[in-house]
Amino acid sequence: MHKKGFQKRSIFLALYIVFALLPIYWMVNMSFKTNSEILASFSLFPQQFTWNNYRTILTDPSWYSGYINSLIYVAINTVISLAVALPAAYAFSRYSFLGDKHVFFWLLTNRMTPPAVFLLPFFQLYTTVGLMDTHLAVALAHLLFNVPLAVWILEGFMSGIHRRLQFSAFFRDDFPAAGKSRGGCGGVFLLHVQLGRVAAGAHIDQRECQADCGHHDTDCFSFWNGLGHTGRGRRVNHRAGCHRHLVCTQLHRQGLCDGPSMKGAANV
């Protein structure tokens, strides 16, 4: 990289960071000034530094009741969102069923609705149901936007975990290896495996296994590259980190696949 180009970029970055932080800095600056100082003089630093403002917002009931309200309805919303989104995300990522693509798209469109459109009906609906002025009402209203987003993100994540890894972990409890190979997603993976125990009907198709074995090198490389590693300068056997290879190896060891044995299967 030429030095000139490098400098131009870092100047631009520095300028943008100044732009990004300036309004925030100004607010922080003002938060340490008293009201009279703000109105009377104009300065980049507080002349009379004071903690009074922070004291007020943390002790004055009219301020902190706001935090408590927010915490309550956010907690309710998160719990409900995750509870309904997880099974749905699992269903979308693992199975295909009648109308699945259309339902998925319809869910996404709810994220795209202008909130203003629902202002009036929500008002009427919650009044009728008697939930007006409650935390539950706010939590339920926000489900409209959070649940589709949660399903979207979780579905993407679950699709990334190869389903035979899930099944193989069910057999051999290889959580640590699988978790490590996905770079530390072990915790969520655990949850995923629990779901795997609940969802019945996964079986290994030997032809798929053989096809996978033949192609694993390609996918391994693109998968590994997708994480930004090209294997250059790294002495780790990249196959050890590739989850597909892990799956294939385990299946071969269990004698569940009589496909062509893979190069380097013994290395792992």
Binding site: D217, T218, F221, S222, N225, G231, R232, G233, R235, V236, N237, H238, R239, K263, G264, N267
Partner: protein
């Protein structure tokens, strides 16, 4: 076309203390102008590192790289004028095949007439003529690899072409076509070609000279025949050949090789020091002979596998399994039989501390 001389080592840490700190242990190697070489070894042995050092993408932590006598250790790949073909096809998706091939030439400000001619010649050689005006993005993997290769060859003064496992993503039935094409190019253009692979068949069929590497070390450099007949290291013996060389651990004393409870007298011409030693013999040369023949040992048949063109016989000697490659016809053996296999012969090699004894 260039002659490449390497005299270097490459380590990850600033002060390497032991062998495992090195990606490439100190080595000296010369690649002659116009030769076809293969760097062969298992994953992680340092062959790609060596290739990248040669191409200029990585600078060695110590030592130098010379092209035709000139020190290019700090030169960029562009300055060294090399071409590199990567493991997966690298094409410019938004351009047509023609534009892809013309790209390096356009960057050097060649005249359009010259570019046309040059691209046409290379496209002819690679059989890409019919697709010159198609978008590169929609083609199959082997066509894309040909484009990658073409971009390297299109420059008239390219010094060497370096390949980093280029046939990995190609379907098996197209691999041999591309391999043949590479040999053809080598024959016609007489370029220095260096090919990295972990597949011994690719290496042995493509290259005149193969460099076998393991764990950062270049273990042996030689032709396919050399590597097969006289592997200088037990690793090479094991790695080359399918199945690999058999090793019998034993000892030498009083002019005899002792193993498996038997003592075989060694021929007078063969001098071997006393002490522990390993005998190496390839399955192709391990043949059944009548009982108690000179130079033969008794073993128990463990398994017979009929692979179609030949039979792989697995026999056990003192707890270790040896494999022999036998022709299909005329075999009357069953599992559990005792068979006498000739281990001492002109193709036998002896190893001490994994290195071959002359």
């Amino acid at each position: 076309m260039a002659r490449i001389e390497l005299d270097l080592a490459h380590a990850y840490k600033a002060n390497p203390l032991q062998d495992s700190d090195y990606a490439l242990l100190p080595l000296k190697m010369t690649f002659e102008d116009g030769g076809a070489y293969a760097l062969l070894g298992p994953s992680g042995c340092g062959k790609t590192t060596m290739l990248n050092i040669m191409s200029g993408l990585v600078a060695p932590s110590q030592g130098s790289v010379r092209f035709d006598g000139q020190d290019v250790t700090t030169a960029t790949p562009q300055q060294r004028n090399i071409a590199q073909v990567f493991q997966f096809p690298v094409v410019y998706d938004t351009m047509t095949v023609f534009d892809n091939l013309a790209f390096p030439l356009r960057n050097r400000k060649m005249s359009p007439a010259q570019i046309n001619k040059r691209v046409g010649d290379i496209a002819d050689m690679l059989e890409l003529n019919g697709q010159l005006h198609q978008r590169a993005a929609g083609l199959a993997a082997d066509a894309k690899q040909k484009i990658s290769l073409g971009r390297g060859l299109v420059r008239p003064d390219v010094s060497a072409v370096l390949f980093d496992e280029p046939l990995t993503v190609i379907d098996p039935h197209l691999k041999w076509q591309l391999r043949r094409k590479l040999k053809q190019i080598h024959h016609e253009l007489k370029l220095t070609l260096i090919y990295v692979t972990h597949d011994q068949i690719e290496a042995l069929t493509f290259a005149d000279q193969v460099v076998v590497m393991t764990r950062g070390r270049a273990v042996q450099v030689g032709s396919a025949a050399d590597l097969f007949e006289r592997p200088s290291h037990t690793f090479v013996g094991n790695f080359i050949g399918s199945p690999g060389m058999n090793f019998i651990a034993g000892s030498v004393s009083g002019g005899c090789f002792e193993a498996g409870g038997a003592a075989l007298p060694l021929p007078a011409a063969r001098y071997l020091p006393d002490g522990d030693i390993k005998l190496g013999i390839r399955p192709e040369y391990l043949l059944p002979v009548p009982a108690h023949s000179p130079g033969a040992l008794a073993m128990t048949v463990q398994q017979l596998q009929d692979v179609g063109t030949h039979i792989i016989l697995s026999a056990v000697l003192s707890g270790k399994t040896l494999k022999a490659r036998l022709p299909v016809a005329g075999l009357q053996l069953a599992v559990g039989d005792v068979v006498w296999l000739k281990v001492l012969g002109e193709h036998t090699c002896f190893y001490k501390n994994e290195e071959i004894l002359p």
